[in-house]
């Protein structure tokens, strides 16, 4: 590293060597793989770091490190790098001056990079597409905040905002908007609800009391997540399958240890009790692999597909097999194959008699 001209001491003060020991508390363990950031990625970060501090007048080392997902050691290394920038014009000068004495970062000179770079097309699109989707979410309260924010971001992004209109996520409008209103009401007032809920896999209309936890919107579908008092567990209820909903005059009582689903790991997770099912489907039945979460799909001759999936309840697979007719066959387990044949035989008998 070249010695900086016209400047005494490092920005960390006390003559600490540049890039030396971190100051102000023990460094947090740097996340693995972060060292693999490319020069371009680091440059992007540096160009955001300076305005981050400038716009706040001053910023704490710990807080800034957290905002950028860095350890304090990594942050100090970034600050030292910024401080070392030197241009010759033709006389050498240092465009950036900063200090982080006492754990507080102050940028006293940032010249041309005091403001952040404009949003790139991908960046503007990621936010705008998500915001426009939110505007479609039934029952969202902050509709005015949403439209104000969309307008501000569109203005700030300028031309970069244009392609975002070519990506859209549509949110299914559940048939009963009234149900959503009532769920929002129950959530706000923390009330128990009574649900009449359709379970297609078993073709049942079930009655149950649920203590609502939150409304989820995953891939355009809305779900109520709540503590089901009948199942004594956290359950998801698709809003378009709610046949009736009543807010009860009873306070919701979600058990302390009720775990909301980590939506980022997928809504449906395998369990050890699952039955392993193997199906084979014709080209006309390939949609099965798209509609249901499958463990594997293996190409067979003539466009047939061998699908493996696991499920806690095989009732829906029996119904699926009837729907598929000659476009599908259950391969395993044996007893499921037998039951599907029995189902079809019984149904044909009903036609023979009626």
């Amino acid at each position: 590293m070249s010695e900086r001209p016209g400047r005494a001491g490092a920005p960390g003060r006390g003559g600490a060597p540049r890039g030396g020991a971190p100051r102000g508390g023990a460094p947090r363990g740097g996340a693995p793989g972060r060292g693999a950031a490319t020069s371009a990625e680091r440059l992007q970060r540096l160009l955001a770091l300076v305005p981050y501090v400038v716009s706040r007048k001053a910023a704490g080392l710990a807080e800034t490190a957290a905002a950028f997902g860095l350890s304090e050691r990594e942050l100090v290394d970034d600050l030292n790098l910024l401080w070392c920038v030197e241009l010759r014009d033709p006389d050498p000068y240092c465009p950036i001056d900063l200090s982080y004495e006492g754990g507080e970062i102050v940028v006293s000179q940032a010249e041309s990079i005091a403001r952040p770079l404009r949003l790139a097309v991908d960046e503007a699109s990621a936010l705008l597409v998500a915001l426009r989707m939110l505007a479609d979410v039934p029952g969202l309260e902050d509709r005015s905040a949403l439209s104000r924010l969309i307008a501000k971001l569109e203005a700030a992004a300028g031309e970069a905002a244009a392609p975002s209109t070519q990506v859209a996520v549509q949110v299914d409008k559940p048939t009963g908007d009234a149900a959503i209103e009532r769920i929002r009401d129950a959530l706000a007032r923390r009330r128990r609800v009574h649900l009449r809920y359709y379970v297609p896999g078993r073709d049942e209309a079930t009655e149950r009391d649920v203590d609502p936890m939150r409304l989820l919107v995953v891939d355009g579908r809305a779900y109520l997540e709540g503590w089901c008092r009948r199942a004594e567990g956290v359950r998801l209820f698709r809003l378009d399958r709610i046949l009736g909903l009543e807010v009860l005059g009873v306070a919701a009582a979600v058990p302390e240890d009720a775990q909301p689903r980590d939506v980022d790991r997928g809504l449906f997770r395998p369990s050890a009790d699952d039955v392993h099912v193997t199906l084979e489907v014709s080209p006309g039945g390939r949609w099965v692999a798209e509609y249901y979460p499958c463990e594997s799909a293996e190409e067979l001759a003539d466009g047939w597909l061998r699908i493996r999936l696991r499920t806690p309840d095989t009732a829906w697979v029996r119904r699926l097999a009837l729907r598929l007719g000659e476009d599908g066959r259950v391969i395993a387990p044996d007893d499921l194959r037998t039951r599907v044949r029995d189902d079809a035989t019984a149904a044909l008998a009903a036609y023979a008699s009626g």
């Binding site: 490319t38 440059l43 992007q44 160009l47 955001a48 305005p51 716009s55 790098l81 920038v85 030197e86 241009l87 010759r88 465009p95 950036i96 010249e111 041309s112 990079i113 952040p116 404009r118 949003l119 097309v121 991908d122 990621a126 936010l127 939110l134 969202l140 902050d142 905040a145 924010l149 501000k152 971001l153 070519q166 990506v167 859209a168 549509q170 929002r184 359709y198 073709d203 049942e204 939150r214 409304l215 919107v217 995953v218 355009g220 939506v263 080209p283 006309g284 390939r286 949609w287 466009g303 119904r319 009837l322 007719g325 476009d327 189902d343 079809a344 149904a347 044909l348 009903a350 009626g354």
Partner: protein
């Protein structure tokens, strides 16, 4: 990661932003530390650096320094570089945090994080913790992009490039080659679609991303296609995907306490029959699809009318036994 390279790129950005007039490559080499003296090596490195800056979205301008246009110079205009002033109310910032989480692990997650970083750099405090906006809203929206085709198709839409891919249409035993001018990508009922002009068929087509097999390839440079003015891709996909009108009515015999998936759509209350079963009327559009649906109820639902629907269900059920 090379620290020296980062330092050089940073110096280059500051240098280009600090100048009002265009700087020649030679002037830049003088001003920015870290470039080699040897001119061929410098040229190559400078070319790569310019490319990196452009990829980051830094608006690098090229202009001629003299009347005859012999000397090329470079600069970055502050106005083109800087994010305009932006102030958010607390409720707007809360919604922003919610929006940034939508993509979580999906294709645009990195872009959302990058945007948030710049907005924070502009002095905006977003609330990203789960306790914030989402708890207040009681809402957690997520979008996944598990289809590998999403990334390249978004790039194609963004950069207005035609693409080719292999597509397996519903019911087909093998994929077909397609060339498409993609107008947009739309998620509907949780599935991603791309809409555009199919060059082979010279017609508007919609494709489901999960049915694209193998790689999506660009078949033209950026800007080599146009989206017709006034195109609303959401509408294109909606029209393509919308159910045909339900012009037929089925009369179904339903076992008591069963057939809820059909009872939901019955046009009138069930009529009890002497044997304890009930009769309902349900509208439908297409016999084939509706027969599949009715068959899935097995012995709980029997079609009384119309005869072609009844025959189709029986065929389905017999198919199970073959």
């Amino acid at each position: 990661m090379s620290r020296r390279k980062t330092e050089r790129l940073l110096s280059l950005v500051v240098c280009l932003l600090s100048t009002r007039r265009y700087l020649t490559a030679e002037q830049i080499r003088q001003a920015v530390a870290g470039y080699p003296d040897q001119s061929e090596a410098f040229k190559r490195m400078f070319e790569r650096d310019k490319e990196e800056l452009r990829e980051l979205g830094i608006p690098l301008e090229t202009g001629s320094l003299s009347q005859d246009g012999d000397d090329i110079g470079y600069r970055v205009q502050r106005q083109a570089y800087e994010l305009p002033e932006l102030r958010l109310e607390p409720d707007e910032a809360a919604v922003l945090g919610l929006a940034a989480r939508v993509w979580q692990h999906a294709e645009l997650a990195g872009a959302a994080a990058g945007a948030l970083l710049k907005l924070r750099a502009a002095g905006i405090d977003t609330d990203e913790r789960d306790s914030g906006a989402s708890a207040r809203q009681g809402i957690e929206p997520r979008v996944a992009t598990t289809e590998p085709a999403f990334g390249p198709l978004w790039e194609a839409v963004r950069d207005r490039r035609p693409v080719t891919f292999a597509y397996r249409a519903a019911g087909r035993s093998g994929p077909q080659a397609r060339e498409l001018e993609p107008w947009g990508v739309v998620n509907r009922h949780g599935r991603w679609y791309v809409a555009g002009r199919d060059r082979g068929r010279d017609a508007v087509r919609v494709f489901r991303l999960s049915r694209i097999e193998g790689a999506v390839r660009f078949s033209g440079p950026p800007g080599s296609m146009t989206v017709p003015a006034g195109t609303d891709v959401r509408e294109v996909v909606r029209t393509w995907d919308s159910a045909p009108p339900q012009e037929n009515t089925a009369v179904l015999r339903v076992r008591p306490g069963a057939g809820y998936g059909l009872r939901r759509y019955a046009t009138s209350p069930p009529v009890p029959a002497p044997d304890g079963w009930e009769t309902i009327s349900v509208p439908f559009s297409e016999t084939g699809w509706f027969a599949d649906h009715v068959a899935s109820f097995g012995a709980d639902v029997v079609v009384a009318e119309p005869p072609d629907l009844r025959d189709a269900v029986i065929r389905r059920l017999k198919g199970v036994l073959t």
